[in-house]
């Protein structure tokens, strides 16, 4: 592969502690290197802000999103973010694109790349339906991908925990990751997915799962133990119980506290809590609903064992999609919206419901504020991953809009000025002056992911890292993001350059090339004896309860055309 020399880049790379320093970046064979020859193609960054490619650590972009597309054909023509949404005819270089919250696969690849993002992590892969996720991955151009496999309401998992079989549990997790080609362990409303199989839910960490005699707390601890025993690159990734319920901040803190005793087996967090905005509610009902962010932030500030992501709300239409089946049914009934549900035998639940976040609704206004409060009240940006839980809080194409909220108190004040008194009384955001700078923004959108997912070659511009680079048309020394937030939004909406594995894929906001990205998955090794014992148990499950044969369950090689297999060694 050719060599590239990026000159005069104003580099912001928190992993290396570089804060808007002008420097050159050398690329060869898709990697960043120390130097290149005189034959290198030169890109003059002209002092523009340069970061590693963005890394969306939690997005619903392959699998369940297809239900969202299916039930919302009206999303196809929505175009609230011109250039990043709506129906776009095919071109010589690009396939046809549709959609806003639930774009087609090609649009997802192109639009993330235009934002300067180069890696995405699908938030939830159901094991039985994993092949579908990978089929969609194949049709998402440019981006590197990975996914988190669902284990939190899985029969075999719950039985092993109930029967105190931690070694077989770890073997099952390893097998499940291989079967689904997943990267990490996802837990959604632990135990609730099984309760939802009967139309019920679990009410908290110590509410036992009907018929399985385990509590959500035990599920969390059991899976955490297995996760660390297998030395997986990511910690368990948890969507807490009681999502969306006023008062749930207490469950969230309780969950976080539970993990204080978990010792990570790698240099990373013991727990990642996802879309905390939806789990940081105080009050006892929608009538006295108010922000719970200060309490959560307070705990997080004093803790050093966890990371979390925001789940920031964007006003306008959104589509909720989650394995939290009961939440979706409740949403649909309360909001009189369409309701899709797909429970997966022996494994988990899911639901999809479109909705609308309005600044005139005091609840939505407070939800919007909570995400920002979390980001700004938590002192250490390395604990914070930026997400909108796309498209639950809103589509990822709104990230640049959301960045302006984080970086500009003035912009926030503008939005807040449209809120009712009732909304203002329920939030603390108006009193927060803090504004993130480009460095902190980089931490939340690429650098911290490098550590959170144990991917040293991503999220930074060190020699040896992947040459995934975003150059934005903004001169950091000459722009004040606090007042010139419109410029910031424009720049981040349309990268001057996006490079993927050393290839220019976006130039001046237009797609140049559409290479295929890689898919990262984890192959955790377990001792044969443990594996064999575990296989006997799951053989029985397939024989008696599943409706597919075990031999047809595993995702086959041909669904992963560019695999990157990460091996780990379990400790038994």
């Amino acid at each position: 592969m050719p060599e590239i020399l990026i000159k005069n880049a104003s580099v912001c790379d928190p992993v290396q502690g570089i804060n808007c320093e002008t420097m050159d970046i050398c690329i060869r064979d898709g990697k960043i290197v120390d130097s290149v020859s005189g034959n290198a193609k030169v890109i003059d960054a002209e002092g523009k802000l340069t970061m590693a490619g963005g890394f969306d650590g939690h997005t619903h972009s392959a699998g369940k999103i297809n239900v969202g597309r299916f039930i919302n054909p009206n999303d196809a023509r929505k175009n609230p973010v011109p250039g990043l949404s709506g129906q776009v005819a095919r071109t010589e270089k690009t396939r046809a694109q549709v959609g806003y919250n639930t774009p087609n696969t090609y649009a997802i690849g192109y639009r993330y790349a235009k934002l300067g993002y180069t890696t995405i992590c699908e938030a939830a892969i159901p094991l039985l339906a994993a092949r579908h996720t990978h089929e969609e991955f194949k049709e998402i151009p440019i981006l590197d991908k990975m996914g988190l496999s669902l284990f939190g309401s899985n029969w075999q998992v719950m039985e092993y925990i109930r029967d105190k079989e931690p070694e077989k549990l770890a073997a099952y997790i390893a097998w499940g990751l291989k079967a689904s080609r997943g990267y990490g362990v996802k837990i959604v409303n632990p135990g609730g997915g099984e309760a939802w199989g009967w139309g019920k839910n679990v009410s908290g960490l110590y509410d036992p799962v009907p018929n399985f005699d385990v509590t959500p707390a035990e599920i969390l601890m059991g899976l955490a133990e297995a996760n660390e025993r297998l030395q997986l690159p990511h910690s368990v990734h948890v969507h807490c119980n009681n999502l969306g319920k006023p008062g749930n901040y207490a469950t969230t803190i309780e969950t976080m506290k539970l993990f204080e005793k978990v010792k990570p087996s790698r240099d990373r967090q013991a727990l990642h809590v996802t879309h905390v905005q939806f789990n940081a509610y105080a009050g006892t009902s929608w009538r006295d609903f108010e922000t719970g962010a200060p309490m959560v932030a307070d705990y997080v500030n004093g803790a050093d064992h966890l990371t979390f992501d925001l789940g920031q709300v964007i006003f306008g239409p959104a589509v909720t999609m989650t394995a939290d089946g009961p939440v979706e049914y409740a949403n649909a009934r309360m909001l009189h919206e369409k309701w899709s549900n797909q429970d997966i035998e022996l494994e988990d639940a899911s639901g999809v419901v479109p909705l609308f976040y309005s600044p005139k609704s005091f609840v939505n206004a407070v939800q919007w504020a909570i995400g920002l409060e979390l980001a700004l009240l938590v002192k250490d940006p390395w604990k914070v991953m930026f997400t909108t839980d796309s498209p639950n809080g809103g589509s990822f194409v709104n990230y640049p809009e959301a960045f302006t909220y984080l970086m500009s108190a003035k912009r926030r004040a503008e939005v807040i000025s449209g809120f009712s008194k009732m909304a203002l009384d329920r939030m603390v955001l108006p009193g927060i002056d803090r504004e993130l700078d480009f460095y902190e923004l980089a931490v939340m959108t690429r650098s911290t992911q490098s550590k959170i997912y144990s991917m040293p070659e991503k999220g930074n511009l060190k020699a040896g890292s992947d040459a995934d680079i975003a150059i934005y048309d903004i001169l950091p020394g000459q722009v004040d993001p606090s007042t010139e937030y419109a410029k910031v939004k424009k720049a981040f909406s349309s990268a001057a350059y996006t490079l993927k594995s050393g290839e220019v894929v976006v130039k001046d906001g237009e797609i140049e090339e559409t290479p295929k990205g890689k898919t990262y998955w984890v192959n955790a090794k377990v001792p044969e004896s443990v594996d064999t014992a575990m296989q006997k148990d799951i053989d029985r499950k397939f024989r008696k309860y599943y409706t597919v044969s075990k031999s047809n369950y595993m995702v086959e090689d041909m669904y992963i055309p560019k695999p990157v297999e990460i091996s780990t060694e379990g400790v038994f």
Binding site: N66, F70, N72, D75, E135, W198, D343, L346, T547
Partner: protein
């Protein structure tokens, strides 16, 4: 003598994957576990006449030609067309469907699946109300009340009841059939109705009335339900509602009786609403009894690639969707297409007369292993490998779970994937030359 286990049957939407296939001298000589329909596919294929070679119609007669000639002739038709209808694509793999969609996009064609005459209305229903569903194993392991509405699995999905529904035994359903109540709602007493615990006979075209009545009762408004609904006495309707409400887990399986009778998609739409209402009292889901083994797959692939599950019009370069305007029959009845490509389907046999007459007037490209009535009106015919037997690929079961179909025997025929790929390449070449 290879014996292949856990092969996937590629006939109906049940997509059974426990088939054992014995292959001798590149022929399937023995099949275990398949039903009569599956059997007819696996073993029957060796008894049917295949289309042996590519053909082009010259002076009214189909004449054998080389594959390259056929591809060129087909590509020319597509390149010269202003409005091609690409139809079928359901008895083939997801990979072939993906190629077909790309071809349609590049030629500005309309592409539609056999859902047009089948479960298309289910998509429309889901677009109104959503799709409250579950994987089939949830039914096997939990359901104690099973309703078959407007469908006849005894004949159309023979192993459905033993593998997934009425007769299946699961974790919470060890008693199997004995622990279940099976209800059939239909306009006549089908063979499935004959083995039901409760058979509710309704008047033709009155499904929406019965669903609405059930909703009213479930929602506490039984006072608005008249003495007779859909030809069913009020007492029986109340009893049916009670059965559903008092279930631990009810699944409504629905078929053409619901999707193709009067008020079509509104029936499925209303059933969706009924399911949502029932979930206030019990656990309830619905699943469509998809006919072809990969019509669900077409819906899935089309949705992730274009945003829409069927009836996709690429004329303006981006996907546009509007059943009633962009469906295969909509176009044919209005005599819009000036060319057609028909694959893995038989509109010649299944479409209305007016539509078939128009097909006969325009250049038609057919891709299929077997001759059928559509062959009579085709102008270019390209034989293909039988997917699921001679060609591997992905298919989606009626509950949207995917499986990989195996290649069981070798074949001289090109696969749909290859044919579409070659056709697309030729179209590009001709366009560049123009």
């Amino acid at each position: 003598m290879p014996v292949i286990k856990d092969a996937v049957c590629s006939l109906c939407g049940s997509l059974c994957d426990d088939i054992t296939v014995t292959v001798e001298d590149n022929k399937i000589t023995k099949i275990e576990n398949a039903c009569i329909l599956g059997h007819s596919k696996f073993v029957g294929m060796f008894e049917h006449d295949r289309i042996e070679t590519p053909m082009i119609r010259k002076d009214g007669e189909l004449v054998p030609v080389s594959y390259e000639e056929a591809i060129e002739a087909a590509a020319k038709i597509l390149v010269n067309s202003r409005r091609t209808l690409s139809y079928g694509w359901c008895s083939t793999s997801c990979e072939a469907i993906s190629g077909a969609i790309q071809l349609a996009e590049e030629t500005g064609s309309v592409i539609d699946s056999t859902a047009n005459v089948c479960h298309g209305p289910s998509a429309l229903a889901a677009q109104e109300k959503g799709s409250p569903s579950a994987s089939l194993g949830e039914i096997k392991n939990r359901a104690d009340v099973i309703v078959f509405w407007g469908c006849n699995p005894v004949h159309a999905h023979p192993r459905h009841m033993s593998r997934y529904s009425s007769f299946s035994k699961g974790f919470f359903t060890e008693k199997g059939r004995k622990g279940r109540t099976m209800v059939v709602i239909d306009v006549r007493k089908t063979d499935t109705a004959k083995i039901a615990d409760k058979y509710v006979e309704i008047e033709q075209g009155s499904d929406l009335l019965l669903v609405t009545a059930l909703r009213s009762i479930v929602n506490g408004h039984e006072d608005v339900v008249p003495e007779t609904v859909a030809g069913v006495p009020r007492a029986e309707v109340l009893e049916l509602a009670e059965t559903l409400k008092n279930a631990k887990f009810v699944c409504i399986f629905f078929g053409m009786g619901v999707t193709q009778s009067r008020s079509k998609y509104k029936n499925g739409d209303a059933v969706s609403s009924l399911i949502s209402d029932l979930n206030q009292h019990t656990k309830a889901v619905m699943i469509g009894m998809r006919g072809h083994y990969n019509v669900t797959g077409f819906g899935q692939v089309a949705t992730w690639e274009t945003g829409f599950p069927m009836a996709i019009d690429f004329a303006r370069g981006y996907p546009y969707y509007n059943p009633g305007e962009t469906g295969a029959n909509d176009l044919l009845v209005r005599e819009e297409p000036d060319a057609a490509i028909i694959a893995a389907a038989d509109p010649g046999a299944h479409f209305p007369q007016k539509a078939v007459r128009h097909l006969a007037r325009i250049p038609v490209i057919q891709i299929d292993p077997y001759a059928n009535p559509t062959t009579e009106i085709a102008d270019v015919v390209i034989p293909s490998a039988v997917v699921g037997i001679e060609a591997e690929g992905t298919a989606y079961r009626m509950d949207a779970i995917s499986l990989r179909m195996k290649k069981l025997i070798d074949t001289k025929f090109k696969t749909d994937v290859e044919i579409v790929k070659d056709l697309t390449a030729k179209v590009r070449e001709l366009k560049r030359g123009a």
